[in-house]
């Protein structure tokens, strides 16, 4: 089959590889009908996530048709021919964490748990196509993919809904939703969202679904800010034009937004000295991540508010104002999304017409065009916001 493989920083190629096979009793094989490139894939593409190996198959946002199921789950609700969306965290459904709903910290699905323990103290779940730290699983930017614990992750979707409307249930819609949910919104709340990429846009939309009064969105790309404004109903700030912290204070009567969401993550673009400082430290391996947006989110937030962090961080960061978090009673919430929790309720919202997630798709391409698509998405060229590949 064909698959998008990582070969090094800024080097992905479409390769011919062998087809995946069932390896465990609860596996299924899914024939991929649509798969997307995520902002998280850019961290791999740029080489900022350690333990990638040449030839690793990328992709954690994918859906398709079940073509084979393992002996362990035959007759267990999932059958050949089902059309399913597949959550990006790989989770067993049986361990304490899974039963508790914390699927992305499943205790059994990461075969390289020892490696993750070295890096993070304790291990995380496996994740499709996301480095060997999270299990080294082959990803879904391919014609076929093996899905472990297929009785837990995949959710059947009705034929009436096209791929474009349900594909993002695999990651970014639940991710934006979980980020907004973490703010425990109350009537009248104002939420600020850093980053108007797909995750940020879903965080904005979800904040409104969950009852926010106002959302203020921050980015620098006009097309992204336009979507935030016109499709999601946010007020917007271009951080290259205004001093974000001053503007937020001004817009909130000096208090700051009630809740702040960092939907940017470890590769924040920060103008000025601060940005150059982080780039230097990152290049010298003195910090792994550049937390520019996180710093700003913390300092901006109203006392007693929530800083919710869906943006991905990998390792250690420098000069994060923890004193501000502590002294001002902020709540810090974060995590790889527990997608399994959200697929069904959010599917319902799509079916009810409360939201049509396809609005952010700017490019529909063939799998073969993946290398160019990564480059375009990285540089945000051609007003690229979200790329969907069809194998």
């Amino acid at each position: 089959m064909k698959a998008v493989c990582w070969f090094g920083p800024r080097d992905v190629r479409v390769e011919r590889v062998k087809d995946p096979e069932l390896l465990n009793p609860r596996d299924a094989i899914v024939k991929v009908s649509s798969t997307a490139i995520c902002g998280s894939d850019l961290h791999l593409y740029n080489g900022f996530v350690p333990t990638m190996a040449q030839g690793d198959i990328l992709g954690h946002e994918f859906m398709g048709e079940v073509v084979e199921v393992g002996k362990g789950i035959e007759g267990d609700g999932l059958a050949v021919g089902d059309r399913v969306v597949v959550p990006f965290p790989i989770a067993c459904g049986d361990c304490f964490s899974c039963v508790d709903g914390m699927f992305s910290v499943c205790e059994n699905s990461n075969p390289n748990a020892w490696m993750a323990e070295k890096m993070w103290g304790h291990a995380t779940s496996g994740i499709f196509g996301y480095s060997h730290l999270t299990g080294g699983y082959a990803g879904g930017q391919a014609e076929y993919v093996r899905v472990p614990y297929a009785d837990v992750g995949p959710v059947k979707v009705p034929d009436g809904l096209p791929d474009d409307q349900v594909l993002f249930l695999t990651d970014i819609f639940p991710t934006g939703y979980m980020a907004a949910e973490a703010c425990e919104l109350e009537p009248g709340d104002t939420v600020a969202v850093w980053g108007c990429g797909p995750v940020g846009l879903f965080a904005i939309a979800s904040a409104f679904l969950l009852g926010a009064e106002r959302v203020i969105a921050i980015d620098r790309f006009p097309e992204r800010l336009r979507l935030a404004r016109e499709r999601c109903g946010a007020e917007t700030l271009d951080y290259e034009q205004v001093d974000v912290r001053a503007a937020l204070e001004e817009m909130t009567g000096g208090l700051g937004p009630d809740h702040c969401i960092d939907a940017v993550g470890m590769e924040a673009h920060t103008p000025g000295i601060e940005g150059r400082y982080d780039r230097l430290k990152q290049a010298l391996m003195l910090e792994t991540d550049r937390p520019g947006a996180l710093r700003q989110a913390i300092l901006s937030c109203r006392g007693g508010g929530t800083v919710s962090v869906p943006g991905v961080y990998g390792g250690v960061v420098d000069k994060v104002p923890l004193g501000s978090v502590m002294n001002r009673s902020l709540t810090l919430k974060t995590g790889q999304t527990h997608v399994q929790r959200y697929v069904r309720p959010l599917l319902e919202r799509i079916q009810n017409g409360e939201i049509d997630p396809s609005f952010m798709i700017t490019h529909r391409l063939a799998l073969d065009e993946a290398p160019g698509a990564y480059d375009m998405f990285l540089r945000k060229q051609d007003e690229c916001i979200k790329v969907v590949l069809r194998p």
Partner: protein, 320 residues
């Protein structure tokens, strides 16, 4: 040598104090902190060499040689992963020493003719690190116990009742599934069984074992009777509070036998016993909770060049 493991366990029954855990591990790992530190240093430097070879060359003031730097980076990364995995710290450390020698030779070559301050600093740094590496390597190589008793204790939480955990442990076939080096277990009856483990170079070692203590749903203890390996151990099953499954606590003791074959065979079973027990318990938990053990072995991947195949194998856990 006054008492054998067997006699000791027989005499002391199965009393294994949990506080032995930390102490034993600290002693066994010997300078774990330093090894980990060197591991992270390797990973960091390796990544730098791989990702920004030109920047690094500029930084330390040598000529740009991206390919060479990438190759060095890969070697460095492999050592780092090896060190952090604790699989064979001795081997990984010696690989660092070899790498240091290469680095020094290269810096020497680069220095010919001119010796800017940064280059001198870089060389001094490498010499310093080399010293630490050699000391650690010697220490860790010596520490690999070819003989003498080893004792390890580890616990794991399993989301099943103590009765289920006990029943699962009681079936030797299940243990054969989760224990990496065990190839076969034949149960003669409810108490006696014959164990076969992998030795080096495709050989196997075997021993007879018997259950010496058996309290249903709470505890099993066993010891070896005769064979290539002297071993004893126990597994305890306690309910965790709040209905949160079971705390499984396993204590093992090994004494490699005196025979030549035994001495040769010992390294595989006794290789990093702490890590071994930890991984075995992880698989025990997975098999019991989910009915399978997570794996990626046999999945597709794009073509990897030779060095990357090695790295990939390292990363997917095939280090030993």
């Amino acid at each position: 040598m006054t008492t054998t493991t067997r006699e000791r366990v027989a005499r002391e029954g199965t009393r294994v104090a949990p506080e032995h855990d930390g102490g034993e591990r600290r002693r066994a790992g010997g300078g774990d902190g330093v090894v980990d530190g060197l591991g992270w240093l390797s990973v960091g430097l390796g990544l730098a060499e791989l990702l920004v070879p030109d920047g690094l060359a500029r930084f330390i003031g040598v000529r740009r040689r991206p390919l060479l730097f990438r190759a060095l980076g890969l070697r460095e990364l492999a050592s780092g992963v090896g060190l952090l995995s604790h699989r064979r710290p001795g081997t990984a450390l010696w690989s660092r020493v070899v790498g240091d020698a290469i680095d020094l030779a290269l810096l020497g070559a680069a220095a010919r003719g001119r010796a800017p301050v940064r280059l001198i600093a870089a060389t001094a740094a490498v010499v310093g690190v080399t010293t630490v590496d050699v000391v650690c390597a010697v220490r860790n190589t010596r520490r690999r116990p070819a003989s003498g008793r080893r004792r390890v204790v580890r616990t794991i939480s399993v989301n099943r009742t103590p009765a289920e955990c006990y029943a699962f442990w009681r079936d030797p076939q299940n243990l054969a599934c989760v224990m990496e080096h065990i190839v076969d277990v034949q149960a003669h009856d409810a108490r006696r069984s014959r164990w076969t483990a992998r030795g080096p170079g495709g050989t196997t070692i075997t021993w007879e074992a018997e259950v010496v203590h058996d309290e249903p749903d709470r505890l099993i203890a066993w010891r070896s009777l005769e064979g290539d390996l002297e071993t004893a151990g126990e597994a305890r099953f306690e309910a965790r509070p709040g209905g949160r499954g079971t705390l499984v606590r396993v204590a093992l003791e090994y004494r490699p036998p005196l025979g030549l074959l035994g001495r040769l065979a010992a390294p595989l079973v006794l290789e990093a016993p702490e890590r071994q027990l930890k991984e075995d318990l992880r698989r025990f938990k997975a098999l019991l909770e989910t009915g399978e053990i997570a794996t990626t072995e046999g999945q597709p991947a794009g073509r990897r060049e030779v060095v990357h195949r090695t790295l990939a194998r390292l990363l997917t856990g095939g280090v030993s």
